[in-house]
Amino acid sequence: MLPGERWGIALLVAAAWLMLIAVVLVFGVAPDPVNLTTDMERYAQRIFYFHVPNWWVGFLAYLIAAVAGVLYLTKGHERWDVLEVASVEIGLTFTTIGLISGSIWAKPTWNTWWTWEPRLTTAAIGWLMYVGYLMLRSAIDHPERRARFSAVFSIVAFLSVPITFLAIRWWRTIHPVVIAGSSDSGMGGFALGPTIGLIFFFCLFAFTALYFALLTLRTRSEWLARRVQQLRQDILYRS
């Protein structure tokens, strides 16, 4: 059993329990929001407990990838490259789900699957950047160069995260602002009630736990894949 394995499994089990409790809380305990009138909107609103944590994990993953990129460029150890690619892959998965869940919410609320407003546009562009990241990796054969270039790109691509986060604050948009100080809650923002707030933060916690579980496992599988590659090369050269 490799060092990361026990941790990965323990985290995964914990995350699975947390997610299960989150589902029960969201559909069984959370009250209906008072400002929504139709049943359709009230059902759709519950996606917020998953949609927001989803994007939070996506952004966290990109942040960790960018930090890993800086560390790779300064320290030059392969482990930062492994962490970076694992984090980007998880981030891309979560932001893909986030784009889809946003669409599902937008249909009953805005009466359209997609609209070209700043938050959606910047989110889609950020998503494309990290697809570009994976394409860049696959287009370079030399391992050290691949690690170096993708570290550079992960740092530049991280710019998309603050842009997406601030898009709804810079421009007047129809996308709701959830994380806001009291000053800008007038711009389409809304305050969270105590129960809703508590359940929301529980969901954030559950998703973050899931991220770290996936990160541990993905990092380990990446190490194993590289080890297999290395062993294969050793055997080929020896014979």
Partner: protein
Amino acid sequence: MSYLRKVLAIVAKDVAAELRTREMLSSMFVFALLVILIFNFAFELRAEDQATLAPGVLWVAICFAGMLGLSRSFILEKDRGSIEGLLLAPIERSAIFLGKMLGNVLFMGLFELLILPIFVVLFNLSAGDLPLLLGVVLLGTIGFGGVGTLFSAMAVHTRAREVLLPILLFPVMVPVILAAVKLTAAIFDQLPLSEVQNWLSLLIAFDVIFMALSFMLFDYVIEE
């Protein structure tokens, strides 16, 4: 040799190479012209007022044609082996970056100067405040050139290098293109600058951020 002279020496090298072949400028110019023409008749069937599309068309033409120039920028160095010469020369790598970037901005600026009058005529526009328009075009081009040079140096070492550069560069360029289009539209509509002040700040802010990031990261990207 002072730092500035080193940078200018690299620009001079690129200009000399370009003057001998003239392949980059002419291809950028013709390509931008083609983009504008294609947009002109592609939109003719549906658009009510073509002038409202003009700023977008201009920047799409600049981006596409600029991409041609940027992708050539390091391919020439690599294929002809002159990148080893650059790296062996007793100059800082940041000077290489600044030189290549200035060269790219210069070539893009030249073809933009050629394309702007034709564009104004074809879309039947009044140029508005000309110095302001040139300023906005220059700011947009600088933002493009900064990250463009960085990614161009990266893309040249990958498989499918011409294809990868636009895929990497366009998403990153979006804030710059967006701000530049808004400002260009405001100039053509003769709006006062105070109304688009925040777009101007955004454009300058991204120029500075992109330049600084590319300047710092270029050391890790350049290699023989």
